[in-house]
Amino acid sequence: MTNRSKQKTTTLNLRIPSQTEKLSLAREFVADAAKVFGFEEDDVHNIALAVDEACTNIIKHAYNYATDKEIEIVVSMNSPEFEILIEDKGKHFNPQGVVMPEMKEYLSHYKKGGLGMYLMKKLVDKVEYSIQPRKNVVRLIKYLH
């Protein structure tokens, strides 16, 4: 066992209904945890925005705007790693099917969708998607430097 795995991990979780008006709750929950973890204000903002984007994608694509579903957010804090899992039980999402836009070319065609995934990758250190039994999981990692 390494020293790191002996360190205590603090885990917090929040469930929100699949409604855009609840996005602010998700942002505040994650921002509070990130502040306690020791992130500077800009990083706190960026982490909250990445979670907002992940939840928005779930509401739009996994649940197709159904408002009676649930999104679970699990924050695990084990310095220097701040991990956020965002889980849904909706339609599977295949990130391989999404081509990351080359922004200059993308903007020149005035497209409006698909900006969220691009933004998430810019805001945190890692973005991973996995399909687990009966749920989809987006995993975001941000390191405290």
């Binding site: 855009t20 008006e21 996005l23 602010s24 942002r27 800009d42 903002h45 925005l49 907002d52 984007e53 928005t56 509401i59 739009k60 922004m103 200059k104 903007l107 020149s108 005035y110 497209k111 409006k112 969708g113 900006l115 969220g116 691009y118 933004l119 810019k122 805001l123």
Partner: protein
């Protein structure tokens, strides 16, 4: 819940929208409606003052993308001003400053609109 408000005023022939609060997937439809109203009324010179805009997600950025082409084709423009560094950083991450003129102060943006009108006379 985080609130979002839009107020309108005129500065000469420029239509100024002041955004306040949190612009996300929940509130972006309000901005979309506001742009649609201006476009329907053929008000194409639009300046968006972001002084009190605390937050923007891609849903909000998408609204600017949705209208810019039609507005420019109609001879107008969307210019922006007074962004906080936090909000500017998100526009910048997506390369928006290549596509939109963003001014630190509203007066500069108004002057730019006026200069364009002079040169097209």
């Amino acid at each position: 819940m985080n609130e979002f408000k839009i107020s309108f005023r005129e500065s000469g022939k420029i239509h100024v929208m002041e955004l306040k609060g949190y612009l996300d997937a929940h509130t972006a439809p309000n901005l979309e409606e506001a742009f649609q109203k201006l476009v329907n009324a053929k008000k194409f010179n639009i300046l968006v003052n972001c002084k009190d805009l605390a937050y923007i997600s891609s849903a909000g950025l998408g609204v600017f993308m949705a209208f810019i082409e039609d507005i420019r084709t109609s001879g107008g423009d969307i210019k922006m001003s007074n962004m906080t560094p936090k909000v500017y950083n998100i526009f910048d991450l997506l390369g928006f400053p290549m596509l939109y003129e963003i001014f630190s102060d509203e007066h500069e943006a108004v002057k730019k609109f006026d200069a364009k009108k002079q040169s097209s006379k």
